[in-house]
Amino acid sequence: MARATTTNRKIITTAAAWTIALIIFFPIYWTILTSFKTEAQAINDPPLFFNFDWTLENYAVVQERSDYMKFLWNSVIVAGGSTLLGILIAIPAAWSMAFVPSRRTKDILLWMLSTKMLPAVGVLYPISLIFVEFNLLDTRGGLIVVLMLINLPIIVWMLYTYFKEIPGEILEAARMDGATLKEELLYVLTPMAIPGIASTLLLNFILAWNEAFWTLNLTAANAAPLTAFIASYSSPEGLFFAKLSAASTMAIAPILILGWFSQKQLVRGLTFGAVK
């Protein structure tokens, strides 16, 4: 009886997991599928699932019209740069909050997170004016700084959570053995938090890769990443869904592949400390 209940629960859980996974994956699947249709097939009613003439024409058109590699390179630089810079700043910050907290540490953490609740457009003009003043418009450097600042609260929060799991006594022991602060951070804390740091890196890379407000508003021709590449194929007057889908597929492909290969680390990192 108990075994039957367990089996039923397993079937229900598996079915539910598959259903949710399919619902989440469907838009990506549909985008990829549409990228192989003609524009006429893309808007066909009823929608065409497999019974259409597959074509690579949209990819050819997108390749011809846009310098994909330039956008891709900008995405890699901006997402990678902002993530690395963020980690460098966040590790000492999270260390101090986790191991030498003050009375206001919790408040500071909450305040940092609350900045994420501010609609980005609310600071569009101040940030734009700063960029104009410092000649940062349409530069990858400017974008790296902005994206780093945007994601910094999340990086600090995540690292803080991982660091809290590490016994403070180990750091104390290192100090008693004569380790300096730098050595304590570099040789004791960081190696123990590698899974957490890795998943933080991955998650923030994905967040920076997908960021589509600042990357559109602070760039023009030089520093525009893949978000601008996608936006250039969207049109309210003209049916370009197949080309838009091809551009979207090309833009999400690198991050999908990265996510696929690193899913084990990502899940491990995200669930780190979730079960005690």
């Binding site: 740069g81 810079l85 104009v132 790296i144 021709a221 049109s235 309210p236 007057e237 049916l239």
Partner: protein
């Protein structure tokens, strides 16, 4: 690799990538912000011709219309200087020109022949008689209809139909069993989507946005008639969910043979008769309808090229504008892709060209453009310039909110009377806050 080395490498990399990209562009390169539509994309394909002739390189930043609007507005108001040429429309041009944000295009060469620009276009792209943007292409709106369905319904479309005729024809063409809707119109919220359509339609019903003292006019009978007529006709003969349909949704329906009539932008003519349309061989055109009050319900729009004030490459930018909006460019496109694909609605000489006269929608496009006057668009006098919009900075925000109320009424979430009441309050509040009253 040791951990320390990894961290040092990471630091160096992030600083390198941050620092390495602060460099600026090249001296003889101009950057152009533009929208993603067929004519603009086609122009990008011919950029090499311009570069070969002048030695000036061109960098394109193509964005979706609403993103572009936000991007160039931010750039021009903060004097960002990211663009040397901006693609803007008839709404922005007079406002930005008045603010001194655009370079006047009053010194174009004699060869360019600025007098050849259609008066309706140059009028809508000027402030105080000075041209601030050169039209790349212009458009109005008109009726596109299925000749086969019209014939089946036993009716004949006049060249200049009335709204009564359109309603009757829509009812006669509707065939729910075969998924054919008599008429497809924009209902989607947004000042440039459903908002543009209903404003242009309201002109023909004798409505206007403001009286001469900038008081909102949604409490008038003319607006109630407009909305009740629209909703009544669409409920009876329109597609399901029309309250969320915009240009693309209706284009999709029409091209799949699911609309008897569609009243929308004249640029759609090349789409509904193009290779992606299943009904290309049975489409004809008529002027946008009226109500016998002296104003038709067609709008007027142009995508135009303007030079933002403060650009360091003003001369090069003007050189590009002269090339892209010239008669020679039109001939270049015609020679390579046929006359049906040249940018329409900008130059008088195009409509005098015997080859272009053979294009099926050419004359109707010209007639539609000529019948819209942005300086006199309403039956009763109004204080604003514009046909489907009022060229004041506050309009985009107000009209977006108002069109949301209208869309809610189309969807049956509130009555037409409630929507108009809210529109009246929204508009008056905004105008008062902006200091008009």
């Amino acid at each position: 690799m040791s951990l320390r080395r990894t961290l040092y490498t990471a630091t160096a990399l992030s600083l390198l990538t941050a620092g390495g990209a602060f460099a600026d562009g090249h001296s003889k390169t101009i950057t152009i912000a533009t929208v993603n539509n067929g004519d603009m994309i086609r122009m990008q394909g011919y950029t090499d011709n311009f570069t070969e002739a002048t030695g000036i390189n061109v960098e394109w930043v193509t964005l979706e219309e609403n993103v572009l609007r936000q991007r160039v507005t931010t750039d021009i108001t903060t004097k960002g200087g990211a663009f040397d040429i901006m693609t803007i429309g008839m709404y922005e041009t007079p406002i930005w020109g008045a603010n001194g944000w655009l370079v006047a295009l009053d010194d174009l060469s004699a060869e360019y022949d600025a007098a050849d620009i259609l008066p309706a276009m140059s009028g809508g792209l000027s402030h105080d008689g000075t041209l601030y943007a050169a039209p790349f292409y212009g458009e109005s709106s008109m009726v596109m209809y299925r000749t086969d369905l019209m014939e089946k319904a036993g009716m004949e479309m006049p060249d200049a139909p009335t709204w009564e005729f359109i309603r009757d024809a829509a009812a006669a063409m509707t065939d729910r069993d075969n998924d054919i809707n008599g008429i497809c119109l924009r209902g989607k919220a947004g000042w440039g989507e459903g908002g543009a359509f209903i404003t242009a339609m309201s002109n023909s019903f004798g409505a206007r946005w403001f009286d001469m003292d900038w008081n909102a006019q949604f409490d008038t009978e003319a607006w109630a008639n407009t909305l009740n007529f629209y909703k009544g006709m669409m409920d009876a003969s329109g597609p399901a969910g029309y309250a969320t349909n915009g240009f693309n949704e209706n284009l999709s329906l029409f091209n799949q043979g699911k609309c008897g009539m569609w009243i929308d932008a004249t640029v759609a003519a090349s789409f509904v008769t193009g290779k992606d349309s299943t009904v290309a061989d049975s489409v004809s055109f008529a002027l946008a309808p009226d109500n016998g009050l002296g104003k038709r319900s067609n709008w007027l729009w142009a995508w135009a090229l303007a030079v933002p004030a403060g650009t360091q490459k003003e001369a090069e930018a003007k050189q590009f504008i002269e090339w892209a909006t010239s008669k020679d460019y039109i001939e270049l496109v015609a020679a390579n892709e046929g006359w049906a694909n040249v940018p329409p609605g900008a130059r008088t000489s195009l409509y005098e060209n015997p080859e272009y006269k053979k294009v099926p929608f050419a004359q109707m496009t010209l007639d539609s453009i000529l019948s819209a006057n942005p300086n006199d668009s309403t039956v009763e006098p109004s204080p604003y310039v514009g046909v489907q919009f009022a060229a004041i900075p506050e309009f985009a925000g107000i009209a977006t909110e108002v069109s949301q109320e209208f869309s809610a009424a189309y969807a049956g979430q509130q009555t037409v009377a409630e929507a108009l009441e809210k529109a009246q309050a929204i508009t008056n509040d905004a105008m008062e806050a902006a200091g008009y009253k």
